[in-house]
Amino acid sequence: MTTAKKRSSGLVVTALAVVVLAVASLWFIPLFPHHAYISGWFLFALMLILTFFNFRKKIPFLRVGKASFWLKMHICLGIFSGALFFVHMGWTWPGGLFRQLFAWCFLIVFISGLVGWWMSCTFPRRLTVAGYETPFDRIPDARNNLRQKAEALVLDNGDGNTPSLASLRYADQFGTFFIKPRNFWAHLLESGSPQAAHTSQFDEMERYIEKGELGMFAELRDLVAQKHMLDYQYSLQLALRLWLFIHIPLSYSLLIFSVLHIILVHSFSAAVS
């Protein structure tokens, strides 16, 4: 069975389990008076398993299964836990500050997980197709390299006394462009408008460029295009990292909330019952 088939078969089983759970929550589960305890503890166990995926990354030297297996399980159990969470809450939004914070925390972790999953499925292909593959931690060096090339190109041009038109335009428009990453959201949303704007500026300027500067002008145009590609790599690779900064810390917060919730529920359950 191929990897894609394995992945989709896991999702089909999860979808079936979610449907069964939803149906059962309407017709079968309400028959049990203490179903909230069972679903609550089951949910807590799921959270522990889901959190273990991150711990698995820290212990590659122990034989605890391949990370790809853990990710598949993480996705399937994560989706199922979303449904179970609503079953546990009785399909209502909870009241009270603590329980609302808890529920929001779960919801953000759940949604950030789905967003991260979507990005993990779609961004790699976009990055490959875009080209200019650069490891994330080398992007600042690559950017600096482009900047130095562009500056050298402009400085080497002209007679040394009178700045050329291309030099002036570089200082005016592209000087800051090469310094740091640009157009994060535009690249993320696959918008070509920043690059189109630069292309249009180059086209406009080309008619005023002197013949001797045309070579340098073409090279500068090429460097700007490369910088756009590098920014594209940066934006998508940054997004692929950033979502984890929401998902993981909140997952740990969720565990703390869960423990507190369990303590509170069991402390006051006698009074409630």
């Binding site: 191929t2 030297f61 391949k66 990370a67 790699p124 593959e133 490891p135």
Partner: protein
């Protein structure tokens, strides 16, 4: 005319033409040394006139040989090492260790097959060094005992208590006039035995493989002697494993005749790795033109070629150029299909359907059709092309047919990429599907976690479409990195196994890193646990060679592969064309 000359001068630059003798094996060889050699056998009997004026015997000896002196107990070659030199005993005596083989630790290697226990694996959670390349003093050296064995002036290793060690093993002595190591040098195979000098003042003449090749070319007696040794010790064991000859008894007259009729042919240059580095730096659109032609498409090929060592490119005309169909390595056969076709149509002259070129170098064995017809059963000759030799699966159908049945066609551009980049040399190449890789670097972190906090590869490398071959040790079929290691620190764990470095016996000479054509070995300046650099007596930082060891000490296999959450990374055997294709099929 004058104008034409002027423009030529403007367009060209004068430089000294590279010469065959530019890079001698030993720059200190003198004419007096050569005179001395000319007085001893086998050179004394060689006819100098048989050598062409462009390649005189004396020049070969001066450029391609070196006189080495050894003391008792000094190791000349180690079992399992790769080398490109052969030796002639000029004086003194050496001992060839037959059995039992010496303890790897005596040769500067790590004990083989030692895996970490559960406790020490778990301890990596907290015991990894916080400093990059932080090494404690104990791990810098094997032991004081081994350290005393290393002569850093000569980059050589001695066996301590040599007489006692030798007394416990079976050895064969070799004295003046005897030659050894020539088969390993000419066929690029690992040394089969350890050789140790046993008498004081032992003098050996070291030949480079180029020198040996040229001497054999112009001296029939030497060629006959080496050919005879090769057929006796190496060729027969190789042919005995070829599927189409397995029905022959090794001691039978037929098999012996087969060994005599087989022709040994070497194409290309063993120093291909240097050429590859140049190619990678400068780029060369004429790569194929520089590959020695073995068989040309459309010409009659009267026999089959068995690849003994090295790699060949199989290509076919396509439009105005050649299209690479596959590359074949050790154990593969070329030309069998043409012979089978000819057997079916005996009246016709069947021309080769493909072109065969040696990539880098190739050590081939040519079996003429007449010999093949004599010794291969008729039914088998008309059968499909056998794909492998002993140890590999013996498919009855051609690879292309089987893959086509499964809906897979080996992409030509993938074949070209693997061939151009010389990745076919890798048995454990790190291939990443960049369409699945989220660039999370979990593989890098896992590698660091299992190597004391230091990653041993770069997640970056050449790409073809969505496939990247990352800069990690490929554990090559032909590990050129192992040639010349003075202490034997870089070695294979077993025959054909992983190439690993024993950090403790690495003296930081950088030979392996310079030899590696793929830049997969990094020299690191080692530090103390507090981040201070370890330095030697001259205040120079201590260097150690580092590279991927395929997590040899871990029980869970390569951490990089297991840590990839998206199954985007695999360690593929690119020396087998179907390995990568099968993995891609599973995507």
């Amino acid at each position: 005319m004058a104008e034409s000359n002027t423009s030529l001068a403007e367009l060209t630059r004068k430089a000294a033409k590279p010469d065959r003798w530019d890079d001698p094996l030993d720059p200190n060889m003198t004419d007096a040394d050569v005179d001395g050699l000319m007085a001893v056998e086998p050179f004394a009997s060689m006819d100098e006139k048989a050598f062409p004026s462009s390649m005189p015997l004396r020049e070969i000896l001066k450029a391609d040989t070196a006189i080495r002196k050894y003391e008792p107990g000094e190791i000349v070659v180690r079992r399992g090492d790769y080398g490109t030199s052969a030796y002639l005993v000029l004086g003194g005596e050496i001992e060839v260790v037959l059995k039992p083989h010496l303890d790897p630790r005596l040769l500067g290697r790590a004990a083989t097959g030692k895996k970490k226990g559960f406790a020490s694996r778990l301890a990596q959670l907290w015991s990894n060094n916080p400093e990059p390349e932080g090494w404690d003093e104990k791990s810098l050296r094997v032991s004081d005992k081994f350290q005393n064995s290393v002569n850093t002036d000569h980059n050589s290793v001695f066996l301590q208590d040599f007489p006692k060690i030798i007394s416990n093993t079976e050895t064969a002595a070799m004295t003046e006039g005897q030659m050894f190591g020539e088969i390993s040098a000419l066929s690029r195979m690992p040394r089969t035995a350890t050789v140790v000098a046993s008498k004081s003042g032992t003098r050996l003449l070291e030949f480079s493989w180029q020198g040996l090749r040229d001497l054999m070319k112009y001296d029939a007696a030497l060629k006959q002697q080496i050919d005879s040794n090769y057929r006796k010790y190496s060729l027969s064991s190789f042919l005995a494993k070829v599927p189409i000859f397995t029905h022959l008894e090794v001691n039978s007259p037929e098999f012996q005749t087969l060994c005599i009729e087989a022709q040994l042919q070497t194409f290309g240059d063993y120093g291909w790795s240097g050429e590859y580095k140049k190619l990678a730096t400068d780029g060369d659109p004429e790569t194929k033109a520089n590959e020695p032609l073995v068989v040309k498409e459309g010409e009659y090929c009267n026999g089959i070629y068995l690849v003994r060592a090295g790699f060949c490119r199989v290509s076919q005309k396509y439009g105005g150029g050649d299209r690479t169909l596959k590359y074949i390595g050790a154990g593969k056969i070329f030309g069998f299909e043409d012979i089978a076709r000819q057997q079916e149509n005996p009246e016709e002259d069947i021309d080769s359907l493909f072109t065969l070129r040696a990539m880098g170098y190739a050590d081939l064995i040519f079996i003429p059709t007449a010999t093949l017809v004599k010794y291969v059963p008729e039914g088998q000759l008309k059968a499909d092309l056998p794909d492998g030799i002993a140890g590999e699966a013996k498919p009855q159908k051609k690879m292309s047919d089987r893959l086509a049945e499964e809906g897979i066609h080996p992409p030509t551009n993938l074949m070209e990429f693997v061939a151009e980049q010389r990745f076919f040399n890798g048995t454990q190449s790190m291939v990443i599907d960049m369409d699945l890789c989220t660039r999370c670097d979990d593989c890098v972190r896992a590698c660091a976690s299992t190597h004391d906090g230091n990653p041993r590869f770069l997640r970056h490398g050449p790409m073809m479409d969505n496939l990247m071959v990352a800069n990690a040790c490929m554990h090559c079929v032909d590990p050129v990195c192992m040639i010349g290691c003075p202490t034997g620190a870089i070695h294979r764990t077993s025959h054909g196994g992983e190439v690993v470095i024993n950090p403790a016996s690495c003296i930081g000479c950088t030979i392996c890193a310079n030899n590696c054509p793929y830049d997969s070995i990094r020299m690191v300046e080692v530090r103390t646990n507090k981040g201070r650099f370890w330095v030697d007596d001259n205040q120079k930082p201590l260097l150690k060679a580092t590279k991927c060891d395929l997590c040899i000490e871990q029980t869970s296999g390569p951490a990089c592969q297991n840590a990839c959450p998206h199954d985007a990374l695999t360690r593929a055997d690119l020396s087998q064309e179907n390995s990568l294709i099968q993995w891609l099929k599973k995507r």
